[in-house]
Amino acid sequence: MSSRSDVTKGAPSGILTGRAKTIVTATVDAIPQAVTPDSPFRRVARKFFHDRLALAATIAIALFFAVAIVAGACAFLHLPMPMQPNATHLERKLLPPNPANWLGTDNLGRDVLSRMVAGSTISLTVGFVAMAVSLGIGIFVGAVSGYIGGWVDNVAMRIVDALLCFPSFFLILTAIAIIGPNIWIIIAVIGLVGWTGTARLVRAEFLTLRESEYVRAARALGQSRMNIIFRHILPNAFAPIFVTAVISIPDAILVESGLSFLSFGVPPPQATWGNIIADGKTYFLDAWWLIFFPGLAIFTASLAFYLAGDALRRAAATR
């Protein structure tokens, strides 16, 4: 009730004082008591984590990332691992899941679980970095083209249209056939091909938001164009951008798996989820575990990202 005394005490102008005493109490009770500042981002986050499905998806994603990071660190720092992902034991080839090899072994006697763990680092790196590349380009092109409009917009959107004319998977195949398969090249190509959707989305958001009153108010305050684009409009377009970003991660993982399956991907012996399946496809009638578990990993990771993206869309729906 401290607020009531605050308002009556500090009533600024003549309007809230004197004759209108009865009105004052009525008004004070009607003022919503906003105790803590409540930013829109915090509200979306709160809603998101109240969603059980979103929570499960987030935990799954966090687990995948934890495994990937630990495995990546071990490989990078040459720390001891329970089993080397590339160590061959020909005497133990094509074993079904057993106490020593929890998810079985492949045709060279390599441990499938170890290879999947090592592969998770590659797959998630591909997904994440490719997303970052395409998001960066997409946001910049979309924002500038949507806000400035005119011929800039025309040129940018025609480039997007031209890129969309190519089936992106074949563009990637061609690029890799010419430049050669290497994980960073694959990431760069997936990222450089994937930004068009983001650019269109961001542009559409900017076309609406640039007409909003607060953009006019920011212009009237003398703010620079870049400041308005990136500080005032972009955070308001955050929700749909973040949703596409989350959803484009599994897309990149799937593209990488597809490339690896066609043996255009990350070259062996480096394991990725895609090339474990590719190696195992010859034996899958006898050794189902060779494609089942990596397939399950791809499926689970993709599903978790899609569900998280979807939950985020729902959490951000009411602005």
């Binding site: 102008s13 500042p37 409540d38 009153e213 607060y214 006019r216 003398g222 308001n236």
Partner: protein, 279 residues
């Protein structure tokens, strides 16, 4: 030197369906400390006039077809983008109609006011103290706490007060209030207008008030310009213009204002602007 001089300003919009002359050949001037109300119906060109003062009307589709806007002797229409940004906010600040949408929903009041201060008053070292001072000045209770609020946590009246604080904190020479109370209910409207009157007295800035409502200009603005179809049809001292309107459109407009305690069979309306002009 006059604070603001407008000579024969024309603004037109080129659209696919032809050219629209939004503002035709208007002229007026203001000294420092003056206050002017621009009154007119929707589409009379009053908002375009206000926005043109700092070239805020987007070109295209708009086109500044002719005339001069001199702010402290410098022609606004000939300024570079950098120069015009200095005038916006720092020289001429705006308060718009819809406080709820004029504030950026993702930033707290504090960070939005801070932007203007950093931009136009780089010498201010304690920005927070300055924000508290201005929020207090526009009548926001407990400004130290409320400045951390986000726009949706404030009521409409408080949002408009925050907008006014944002405009004033840049210490503009001229405040342009474009229908500042239209979106607010009548009690809040009275409070905001009282606040504007008090602040004008306190800080001695000039004011242009854009409105379609004759009832609110008395006591706030010394002069009135009545706009109709892009032209200023009548211009003069508020009291005498209200008592003794000359132009038929002004007469019609004033007779439309309903009065408490006056028995009227029907409320007057202006059926058609063209008929009214020929009354």
């Amino acid at each position: 030197m006059n604070l603001l001089e407008i000579h024969n300003l024309s603004v037109r919009f080129r659209t696919e369906n032809g050219t629209v002359d939004a503002v035709k050949n208007i002229s007026f001037s203001m000294k420092e400390g003056d206050s002017l109300a621009i009154v007119g119906e929707s589409g009379s060109g009053k908002s375009v006039t206000a926005l043109s003062l700092t070239r805020l009307v987007p070109t295209p589709p708009a086109e500044y077809a002719g005339g001069k806007i001199l702010f402290l002797g410098r022609d606004i229409l000939k300024m570079s983008p950098g120069q015009i940004r200095q005038v916006r906010g720092g020289g001429i600040a705006y308060v718009f109609q819809e406080p709820a949408t004029s504030l950026n929903p993702v930033y707290s009041i504090r960070s939005q006011i801070a932007e203007g201060i950093r931009l136009h008053r780089p010498d201010v070292t304690d920005v927070d103290a300055e924000i508290v001072k201005w929020l207090g000045a526009v009548g926001i209770v407990d400004p130290e706490k409320r400045m951390h609020d986000y726009p949706h946590q404030l009521s409409g009246g408080m949002q408009q007060r925050a907008m006014i604080a944002m405009a004033l904190s840049c210490r503009p020479k001229l405040l342009v209030a474009d229908e500042p109370t239209t979106a607010l209910d009548v009690t809040i409207q009275a409070q905001i207008l009282a606040e504007l009157r008090r602040l004008r007295g306190e800080f001695g800035m000039s004011l242009i008030l854009i409105t379609h409502n004759f009832a609110i200009i008395r006591g706030l603005c010394e002069r009135v310009a009545v706009m109709f179809r892009g032209e200023i049809v009548e211009y003069g001292d508020t009291e005498s213009l209200l008592k003794n309107p000359q132009h038929p459109y002004t007469k019609a407009l004033i007779s439309c204002v309903p009065r408490l305690g006056v028995k009227q069979a029907r409320l007057r309306t202006i059926e058609d602007s063209w008929t009214a002009a020929r009354l």
